[in-house]
């Protein structure tokens, strides 16, 4: 018996399929393109700018946007455009590095918890519950005041608090995957626990993890901005959008643009990540596969 040609579907992998669906989602594409543009600008702009983010020009303070200074100057005569784009570096670095820490802690702990079960699982999950019971920002501020100074410690403080979400997610995924036939099959063929976890359980829970990380990035960016805004984040002269808002706030009546631009920048970057995250979530949902 031959199979009718039209009944043979073109072969699609899950990821190929997701990519096709993601590209069809206009909002997600817009978000992704904006993130790429901001990233590119943040990398190359400082090389082309006439101004340095820290150099002051006290003859040109609090200027409104002009052709000389596209977004004006701040209270120390620094070019706002340059500072804003260098600030994007800070924000993007916070977004990426905190998530590396989150994954480095959350993935293994969640996997161990879900794969082994029993007492280990109970212990890890109760610890996760305790961290979960607290408003994140409170714990981050606490850690921040203990870890002290540098920007890396901000990554660490945010990462150390936010991994619990990923750990819970991975554990849940693995618990449900463990019941599936292909895992039973792998076990029947003699796969050890470690092999099954790393080859079958973890790769199959990757989709939701990617989505969560995409949503975590804007939260981390916001957290850094908030910390810098209240004065315990990135230290000057390194530009950070939160710190720019705090400094500009003192002269808000004289130069509202100093506060307006970084506020809009935070809003746009966070919105872009949310659009991309929404798109990824829909794209990676196997129930929507065709």
């Amino acid at each position: 018996m031959t199979i009718a040609a039209e009944s043979v579907r073109p072969h699609h992998t899950l990821w190929g399929d997701a990519w096709i669906r993601l590209r069809r989602n206009k909002l997600a594409v817009t978000g992704g393109v904006i993130i790429l543009l901001i990233t590119l600008l943040a990398i190359i702009y400082p090389f082309f700018s006439k101004y340095d983010f820290a150099s002051q020009d006290l003859n040109a303070i609090l200027q409104s946007p002009s052709s000389e200074h596209l977004l004006g100057t701040d209270e120390l005569g620094r070019d706002v455009m340059t500072r804003l784009i260098t600030g994007a570096r800070t924000s993007l670095m916070v977004g990426i590095f905190t998530q590396i820490i989150v994954l480095a802690i959350g993935l293994p702990l969640g996997a161990i918890s879900g794969a082994t079960g029993g007492k280990t699982d109970n212990f890890i999950m109760r610890f996760v519950d305790i961290i979960y019971a607290f408003p994140d920002l409170l714990l981050i501020i606490l850690l921040r005041s203990i870890l002290g100074g540098s920007i890396y410690m901000i990554f660490l403080a945010i990462g150390l608090v936010n991994w619990v979400g990923v750990a819970r997610l991975v554990r849940g995924q693995i618990l449900s995957l463990k019941q599936r036939d292909f895992v039973t099959a792998a076990r029947v063929f003699g796969g050890t626990g470690g092999y099954i976890t790393t080859r079958h359980l973890l790769p199959n829970s990757l989709g939701p993890v990617i989505v969560t990380v995409t949503f975590n990035i804007p939260r981390a960016i916001f957290t850094e901005a908030a910390l810098s805004y209240i004065g315990i984040g990135v230290q000057p002269p390194t530009p950070s959008w939160g710190a720019m808002i705090r400094d500009g706030y003192n002269v808000i009546f004289a130069a509202p643009h100093l506060v307006l631009f970084p506020a809009i920048a935070i809003g746009i970057l966070m919105l872009s990540f949310t659009f991309l995250g929404d798109g990824l979530r829909d794209a990676l949902d196997p129930r929507l596969r065709r």
Binding site: D129, I130, A133, F134, P135, D136, L137, L138, I141, L142, L143, R144, S145, I146, G148, P218, F222, A225, A226, Y229, I230, G231, I232, I245, Y249, I252, F253, P256, V259, L260, A263, I266, G267, M270, L271, F273, T274, F275, D278
Partner: protein
């Protein structure tokens, strides 16, 4: 049910104990003591101060004292605001933070539920699209960014509202909105999706087939069931309001607990920091407990074992 509640309360106590222990140990790791900020003090003075506040005792003895005092409603003393107990500082800030939080929460419900319902009832209409677009935007823009935009528009440009402070109705409008938009957006999203879900249920179709008025179906059948997931989210949302209030209180110069906590962190005021962390922990954990119990009351299908 009683067993479940007792178990939850026990768990709450364990959580608070662990949290206070973690906070307490972390605070001891902080480089620099509470007397570092002011001008260098003579060693004898430092010794006397340490003795007065019990800081010369061993670690676990200090922790024991701390717990014992908490049991008596005493969250310790502030190291920077002399002669003030943390309890009195918190009680002074609490009415402001609570008023702001409650107003924001009510606003969030009043905005979120009607918009979510309207969007679901007129699915794919212009109202639906607008509601989805706005809830997506407001769900991802942090309150303090929105607060800044509000200040620029209503204080700097229009001179309608004061930039901050506490005491008058005008002063509360902007911070309440800035705090409410994010939970409002979440509530609108959840209400929309759960209403769409409920509208497809057989019991709604049955009610329609029986010729019951649409308004009655809406209130008795749809609303009641659609709001269950909204209540589940109320706990995390309240926690959100609490976190949000740190920044909003600072932005709008509101003398609430959030602002005092941030000041405490700056001044390395261990007493104030530990006291407020514990207080926040208690409030958030307690609210979550109440929400979980309410959940069972609203939805009789849920059984606790």
């Amino acid at each position: 049910m009683t067993r479940y509640i007792l178990f939850r309360i026990l768990w709450l106590i364990i959580v608070l104990l662990v949290v206070s222990f973690i906070t307490f140990s972390l605070m001891h790791l902080v480089p620099g003591g509470p007397w570092d900020k002011t001008k260098t003090l003579a060693p004898q003075v430092v010794e006397a101060l340490n003795k007065k506040y019990g800081l010369d005792k061993p670690f676990f003895a200090q922790f024991g004292d701390f717990l014992w005092n908490i049991l008596h409603g005493d969250l310790g003393v502030s190291y920077t605001l002399q002669d003030r107990s943390v309890t009195s500082i918190i009680l002074q800030g609490l009415p402001k933070t609570a008023t702001l939080g409650v107003i924001a929460f009510i606003l969030a419900i009043l905005i979120g539920i009607p918009f979510g319902m309207a969007a679901a009832l007129k699915q794919n209409s212009i109202i639906d699209y607008l509601s989805v677009i706005f809830s997506t935007i407001f769900a991802s823009i942090p309150g303090f960014v929105l607060g800044i935009l509000l200040i620029i528009i209503f204080s700097v440009e229009l001179h309608w509202l004061p930039t901050g402070g506490w005491g008058s109705v005008q002063q509360i409008i902007m911070p309440a909105f800035a705090l409410a938009t994010l939970p409002a957006a979440f509530i609108a999203r959840i209400t929309r999706s759960s209403t769409l879900e409920v509208m497809r249920q057989d019991y709604v179709r049955t009610a329609q087939a029986m010729g019951i008025k649409q308004r009655v179906i809406l209130v008795r059948h749809i609303l009641r069931n659609a709001l269950i997931p909204v209540v589940t989210m109320a706990g995390p949302e309240l926690a959100f309001l609490v976190s949000g209030s740190f920044i909003i209180e600072n932005l709008f110069s509101i003398p609430g607990i959030g602002r005092m906590f941030v000041n405490g962190v700056f001044a390395r005021d261990y007493g104030l920091i530990m006291g407020s962390v514990l207080f926040y922990g208690f409030v958030v954990a307690g609210l979550n407990l109440v929400v979980d119990i309410l959940y069972g009351v609203i939805d009789p299908r849920i059984r606790y074992d």
